[in-house]
Symmetry: C2
Subunit: 701 residues, 2 copies
């Protein structure tokens, strides 16, 4: 078991690492030669031009103004300065709301930490249970619930605190849900006219022997929806020339009014509920084309296969992690490799191993995971990139919960418990886990420092894109356009980022009552990450789609899950402390929390799933008054076009893209969706050079 | 443990009882004086007039034609003769589909029984495990899985059979779901014009300081729905005279077309998802008026309260049942009341006690339950009688599952196991229950005979309505109208009837692999109940609403639950028989079943929840072509009227009702909804005397 001394060493190492990253970042970002690595967002927006074109030769590549090095942390206040509405304009609602997740963390945990340190730390500290026992313990354990004697009345404090923390967390969550829901509705309402506001995606168009899919769609919607305007079928270009049967049984149907689109998206069209499936069309650049044509039966079989595959993935990943962790403690290494014993016993190395290795072992395993999960989601048949990422995030969270959280608590102490685990009663599981929790506090503290402190500081350095950019720049780049393509702004990466934050929510809520000394570490993470990601969103990331914060119900739901888990584990822990009289009171807590979740779901979730008719009608009426002669049909022309067709146009559009005389698309469509996409496509590049022209056009239309 | 002899005695008693009931019914129904008790449906339809008005004095009251007594079972073929489409016309889709539940039981269990007797009974019988053991056993146990030695390869038979039975059950279920969904759509499509096809119920109209609810509703829908026609607010009559604030914030909004109503019912109206809630209006007579005005927050609190209350109801009911059952076995009674020992030891009495008492004790407890559950559903805030009954049925099923099924299996053998039960692992629970299952076969066989054979035969006798009718007839009835009111046709009582059937599905599926000898008893139940209820639906019951078989997804879901339970219990049972190598194969079975359920849910459930726009448009177009000058506004006049208003009109309408010159309502509204309503209201009475006039009017409109 790690002592306070080990923690101190680990903290020192991690703080130094984080500090070194920040200094390196401060120096590198000031060099003009790195400008495109650290400020790609501004290049894409066309608001920053290369400093390489002006000044003296040396000054082009290295910043010689030494005054700018002094204030090496001045990016932090700069990152915080941009007000939220401007941020939404600049980077989209998704990014702005994503940052609010960190704020929620601060809002929940700062007051909880103060309360915990004011009340619970003294209550825990002023006992002598551990001192009078024969157990080995650290000073951190003296601050935790372990220091309270069995059957003590002091457990009432923990019970009351569990209520207080839960109520506070729910209060913050409810307020935040309301704010985000309003932000979303406001965002959707104040947006300019966009094709997806008028468009519905129709899937599983039933085959008809007499009509082509094209005709069929037109007839069906002409008959059943009086506001039908036009539609586009997403066909495979090369195949269609050879084989007309490869037309996908799916179409993007556009309507004359938002009202009609809202109606069509929310209703069932035909007698057979598995044909003529309608739903809101995703943004054009959010569409995942490959999945549009999967029929219903295939979809439901795919879902089964992925569910089974994910189950095996989750439970077989556990074995290597547990194996590495069992090696990654002093006794384990000494047993496996006895000749290393003299080296390991050196005090600094011992502390290093204990503080670092378990966290790193986990981290390496987790690097390969997101790609696999993304493949699973794609196989499962979601039709927009945003929903692919949301689904992957859910799976990643479940995986982390079982393997990182439970895995570290159970197998870390005893691998053989794993097998017993599935044979324990519903009553026994929270008890087993609950008992191990206080013992694992030091492990999670080091984990937070490695993953949450040094990891976040490393994020801002962008070492990988930096190296790749310079390699490309050196070997490949010939024209200015090549240089633009060599930039890799990256995206937020919701599918990996959000589950990571959720792990901190889980740790914070679970340890709030048990070992409150862990809370400040969590707060540092949330604060640091907030500043770093705000900086990255403003200066670096280029979000590839805009879902209007559609992910918030997931975020909210997972924090609720963390809350319920913390309550159940506390129940299990207290039941071993012979504080049984408190159990009925503790049972009420998860019941109330579940009820709270259902209340919020009914109250706020529809804002993220449906589109109110009143809103649609209001915008339609406004538009009709302002622009009575609007030609919507031209507006929809090619809004939803399969990338294969786009690809064919490239040779023409490339030459025209610089001039701005071509009818620009309102929303540039990008095919590549992965975070690690090395090259942004030509379209985003070409549009980036004429954003004003686009906006003017949009207003003229 | 009951022996085969005990079963024989119980079977003899129950068969005799059932026979006696049938004979009594055969005699009583032929007496003219009882005509209104046994054929009220035909009186309500106006197709039968009282035999008391004609013939000789004695012949008026007693049937002297002795030939008619000879064929005392001739009602059975008569009940089966009416074809299904005619039955739907006669009694509605709800009743016709309800009967199909019994047919599903026959379709599932008849082939399973044949297969089980052909294969599994020989496999079980040809072992000597029980003969060579020191256990007490009966001949029934020799036919069950208990007779197979531990670790035997013969368990593969049971495994294969579990697969075969599950696939067959799923096949029947899927086919039936498809048929019922089609029947529902056909029924809705072929129906005459009804107000609820054009009407949407709007709830939680937000308060407005400047406008009344009336004006507010009109303005909102005029703005947001171009097909808006008219609306009716359900106000409290007496209060409104004194206090205009008592107007409910709810309204029935009618549209010009079915299409517009379908759109409005399926979409979200306003930004705030808890106001302007729209849903399909129930049939006028199906509306539960008292619950229309409950606001969202109150609704969600009520739901929490009911959930907690139901939890306590379910788990505290268990104690008295277990107590009575522990008395109701020979040893228990002899211990509690030792002086009865000589009487009990008489063989006939002993068999009687063992065969009868446990079933009866259960039955008495269950009599009071439906009323409580109905009150809970009402408190919870459902707005139609059909949904109240569906919800009560769900609760009743859960209650029966825990208290009758699990309660009988666990507490019947040892009450102290109850306490241990919640402390057992997810792995252990199916094992504990699974092991007890073969031992409880004889108990459930007697239960089926008491509840399912004699009980169903008692249903047809209608002893309670018979007595009440004659008492009323003697003391109260003065005019012919009084006599009409004294009739109590009753209804199917979905909230109690369906969960009862589901218990038989559960027992049948659980015992199919374990003790197949129970299956013929189940088949007799399904066959007998089908004939009896078909007779009752044709001749007696007067369904008070028509939901278009909206209950089928519930029925389907619960059979699936029974299937999964049976698979889990078999897994538990086999794991104690050291047939562990079969466990992985058994785990796949519930996974596949859950998947099958989700597949069916996506494929068929929308037909029961939503209304396809294509259908609506088709009917609208047809109607517009046929009747271009239709005045729908007049048609909706007073279609949805609070019963308080109706009550006030009675004095006027009573005199007019006989003439048919008054504009009759298309669908008579009845306020009383309970099965045990002693008197049908005046409206159903008055309408029953002029059904042709109503139908003519409806066609003229």
């Amino acid at each position: 078991m790690a002592t306070l001394k080990d923690i101190e060493v680990a903290a020192a190492i991690n703080i130094l690492t984080a500090f070194a990253f920040f200094v390196a970042f401060a120096i590198l970002r000031l060099q003009p030669v790195n400008d495109r690595v650290y400020f790609p967002k501004w290049y894409l927006k066309g608001l920053r031009s290369s400093p390489l074109n002006s000044g003296a030769l040396v000054g082009k590549f290295v910043n010689l103004d030494f005054r700018s090095y002094v204030r090496f942390l001045n990016w932090m206040p700069a990152a915080l300065k941009m007000p939220e509405p401007e941020l939404i304009d600049h980077a989209g609602l998704d990014s702005a709301v994503y940052l609010r997740i960190y704020l929620v963390g601060l809002k929940i945990f700062v007051p909880i930490t103060f309360l915990a340190f004011a009340i619970m730390v003294p209550v825990n500290w002023t006992n002598g249970t551990l001192e009078h026992s024969n157990l080995t313990y650290s000073d951190i354990d003296k601050l935790s619930i372990s220091n309270i004697p069995i059957g003590s009345d002091r457990f009432w404090t923990h019970l009351v605190m569990a209520y207080a923390f839960s109520f506070w967390a729910c209060y913050v969550l409810k307020k935040e849900y309301a704010i985000v829901a309003l932000m979303r509705l406001h965002f959707l309402a104040s947006e300019q006219r966009r094709p997806d506001q008028f468009t519905v995606l129709v899937r599983n168009v039933p085959p008809d022997p007499d009509e082509s899919v094209d005709e069929l769609v037109e007839h069906f919607f002409l008959v059943n929806h009086e506001h039908y305007l036009t539609h586009q079928i997403a066909t495979e270009r090369d195949k269609i020339i050879n084989n007309p049967k490869s037309i996908m049984p799916a179409a993007f149907v556009s309507f004359k009014t938002r009202w009609a689109a809202a109606v069509c998206a929310q209703t069932q069209q035909s007698r057979n509920p598995t044909t003529w499936l309608t739903e809101w069309a995703p943004e054009p650049r959010d569409v995942y084309w490959a999945n549009l044509a999967i029929p219903y039966v295939s979809l439901s079989i795919r879902r089964l296969i992925v569910a089974v595959a994910f189950f095996f993935l989750t439970f077989f990943f556990m074995i290597p992690i547990a194996f590495v962790q069992s090696l990654a403690n002093i006794e384990g290494i000494e047993k496996a490799l006895p000749f290393l014993k003299p080296i390991i016993e050196i005090k600094v190395i011992k502390s290093f191993i204990q503080g670092f290795l378990p966290g790193i072992a986990l981290k390496i395993f987790l690097i390969f995971l997101p790609t696999i999960l993304m493949l699973m989601s794609k196989f499962e048949g979601f039709i927009s990139i945003s929903s692919l990422e949301r689904r992957s995030a859910t799976r990643y969270y479940i995986f982390q919960f079982i393997n990182v959280f439970l895995g570290s608590i159970i197998t870390g102490t005893a691998f053989q418990q794993l097998d017993n685990f599935i044979h324990q009663s519903a009553n026994e599981i929270p008890r087993t886990v609950g008992v191990s929790i206080p013992m694992k506090a030091t492990f999670f503290i080091t984990y937070i420092m490695v993953d949450g402190w040094a990891g976040i500081a490393g994020e801002i350095l962008r070492l990988k894109p930096l190296i790749i950019y310079h390699l490309k720049n050196f070997f490949l780049v010939k024209t200015e356009k090549d240089r633009e393509e060599a930039m890799d702004p990256g995206t937020l990466g919701f599918n990996t980022g959000e589950p990571q934050i959720q792990l901190y929510f889980l740790l914070g809520l679970v340890y709030a009552v048990v070992t409150p000394v862990l809370l400040p570490f969590i707060i540092v993470f949330f604060g640091l990450a907030y500043v770093v990601y705000r900086h990255q969103i403003i200066n670096v990331y280029n979000q590839e789609y805009e879902s209007g914060a559609a992910f918030w119900p997931d975020v909210h739901g997972r924090i609720i899950v963390a809350l319920i888990v913390s309550q159940l584990l506390l129940m299990g822990l207290l039941s071993t402390k012979q504080a049984a009289q408190s159990t009925p009171l503790l049972i009420a807590l998860p019941v109330l929390t579940v009820w709270f979740h259902r209340f919020c779901k009914g109250r706020y979730e529809p804002a993220f799933v449906r589109y109110p008719l009143q809103e649609a009608m209001m915008k339609d009426t406004l538009e009709r008054t302002r622009e009575p002669n609007l030609n919507l049909k031209g507006f929809f022309q090619n809004a939803y076009m399969h990338p294969v067709f786009k690809g064919g146009d490239d040779s023409d559009s490339d030459t025209a893209s610089g001039d701005g005389d071509q009818e620009p698309e309102l929303v540039p469509t990008k095919r590549n969706s992965q975070r690690n996409t090395p090259l942004p496509t030509k379209h985003s590049g070409s549009v980036s050079s004429l954003p004003e022209a686009v906006q003017e056009h949009a207003q003229l239309l």
